[in-house]
């Protein structure tokens, strides 16, 4: 089991390294003068040259890359052009904010999707309905759904807050949006796995042992659903985090996503790059967590078999 985990870790680090290299390329090699971005109104060439020297932009590219890497390892993601703060200090406090939203969204999508999948499996009349719901949810872009929910629950019925913020009341709609968008995937997995389980012989064995339907569902069927669901969370992370970014913008949730999008408007490239690196690391890390979790839940995925 340890061997598999280490292998995943190595691949993950390679992926992150790739992202870092790309980020460096974009930051330092692509045309666009950082000095002008920092001091847009400066006219004097001497001032601009001074800024460039401060940013070590006059050194050879290799040295800049080494500096960059060194800085990264120390948690230094560069300095914002616009806000005069280190990128890390801007991202740091928002990690938790985004994390809370992301967690709430995952819980929502697993629960909503799972409920839909279970409904569709156990009740014949629900199957077509759930299918239609799934198709609609798949076709709707996440920000349209978010705005729709905001319109209905925020403006029409006034039960949800319409201003930004990071409180529990403000968490509901964005988490719900993330949950609804992701639900069809989990509904599909849960329905498929449940059908496989219910048709399998070990359910017949369980019935022959006189176990009740609810016991069988709880202790036998749903356990078998966990493993593919966890796999899905892991595979899905990249797309899921993208959704989190968009949702933060729609609902003005002050997390990393909103930070990145605003930085884009302000042409503040270091922040954008910093967030991507953080995002890549998060994907790798949580993928690992998902893998380990899955090994706990499904003994067949442990090494050696």
């Amino acid at each position: 089991m340890a061997r598999a985990v280490i292998r995943r870790l190595v691949f993950g680090l390679i992926a992150v390294a790739g992202v870092v290299a790309l980020a460096f390329v974009l930051e330092f090699v692509v045309p666009g003068d950082p000095a002008k971005a920092i001091a847009p109104r400066a006219q004097s060439p001497a001032v601009l040259a001074g800024i460039r020297a401060q940013l070590h932009l006059n050194r050879p590219v290799i040295v800049q890359f080494a500096d960059y890497l060194g800085g990264l390892l120390h948690g230094n993601l560069g300095t914002s052009y616009v806000q005069r703060q280190s990128v890390a200090s801007l991202i740091g406090p928002r990690l938790l904010t985004t994390g809370v939203l992301a967690l709430a969204g995952v819980v929502a999508e697993v629960i909503i999707g799972g409920a839909l999948g279970i409904l569709a499996t156990l009740f014949g009349w629900a199957r077509a309905l759930v299918g239609a719901v799934n198709l609609t949810l798949l076709a709707i872009p996440i920000f349209v759904l978010g705005l729709l929910l905001l319109l209905v629950f925020g403006f029409r019925f006034g039960i949800a807050p319409v201003t930004g913020g990071a409180g529990p009341a403000q968490l509901v709609l964005p988490a719900l949006t993330l949950g609804l968008i992701g639900a069809p995937w989990y509904a599909q997995i849960v329905a498929d796995q449940m059908q496989d389980s219910l048709a399998s012989s070990y359910i017949r064995t369980a019935v022959s042992k006189g176990l009740s339907d609810s016991y069988i569902l709880r202790r036998h069927v749903l356990r078998n659903v966990l493993s593919p669901a966890i796999t899905m969370v892991g595979l899905d992370l990249g797309a899921y985090l993208s959704g989190v970014v968009t949702v933060e913008v729609v609902f003005v949730w002050p997390g990393i996503g909103l930070l990145a999008v605003n930085a884009l408007h302000d042409l503040d490239r270091p922040i954008v790059l910093g967030t991507v690196i953080v995002g890549a690391v998060a994907v790798v890390f949580f993928n690992l967590v998902a893998d380990v979790l899955r090994m706990f839940v499904d003994p067949r995925t442990r090494e050696g078999v």
Partner: protein, 345 residues
Amino acid sequence: MRIAGAGNAPALEISGLNVRYGPVHAVFDACLTVGAGQVVALIGETGSGKSSLALAAAKLLPNSAAVTGQVSIAGREVSGLDAGEFRRIRAGLLGCIAQDAMASLNPVVPVGRQVGEVFAVHAGMGRRQAAEAAVAALAQVEIHNPAAVARLYAHQLSGGMRQRVMIAMAMALSPPLIVADEPTTALDVSTQAEILRLIGELRARVRCGLLWITHDMGVVAELADWAAVMYAGRIVEVGPVERVFDAPAHPYTLGLLQTRRDLRSGPVGAPLFQIPGSPPGPGEDPGGCPFRPRCPRATEVCAEVDPGLEPVGADGGLASGEHRAACHHPAAAPAGPADAPAAAP
């Protein structure tokens, strides 16, 4: 744990059992008895309805199957019970051993827990007690180091060990009836022999009735007291094993035994005996005796009337009523000279 009053009542009594899957009539009016402590082998090829009969008796068929008829286990009428009532008492009445142990065990739950469930849910044991009882049950089926094995998962065990686990689960509460659906078919020959021996011993110790479904006549000869032969959804012959094997009355049984004899002791190089033709497909019911197209003794009456099980006359020894066959021209009775054999279409 064992249902009170089981005593000497027959372990299983089936009468008038019919099983239909939609338009397909899989089991016709089956009547079968398994005495207390008796082993009855239910013999038939694939599609004969033997599994359907057993599953119907054990109430393990899906709701889409229509089952009618009477079923009693250990003297207790169960066919009339609704699902909930039966569920509560079934573990103490009836144990089931399936054919494919790998598919019949939950892959993500340790096997010890799967055995322990029976104790926890039906014998009211707490978790630790149930776990201990499970280990004891595994020891009963001759698993070495049962405590360690209890923690393993199905895919980590060999075929023979998995089958032992199934046996332990079925016999956990010492039920008066065990229904086993070809439990040794998937095993290699030596393991098969061990499992047979084990089942024989356990059964004798616990004194339960055993309905053993198989297509392997060798197993029947070794283990069974009684044999029932099924063809096209009907029981076509039933009786004590020695009588059925030595003096088969139904031409199908005769054919099966002949095939087996040729396989085992026929001259090398000689063609194997084969019953000509093939059994009717599901849903095919041309009327009359279903074996008629393949039967060397068939006459006109066979085309019109579906024979029921009738006692076959015996000369000496057992009471003749015990050996029955569904045939207009059972072997023990001489064929009438007036009935010319009809040509099979």
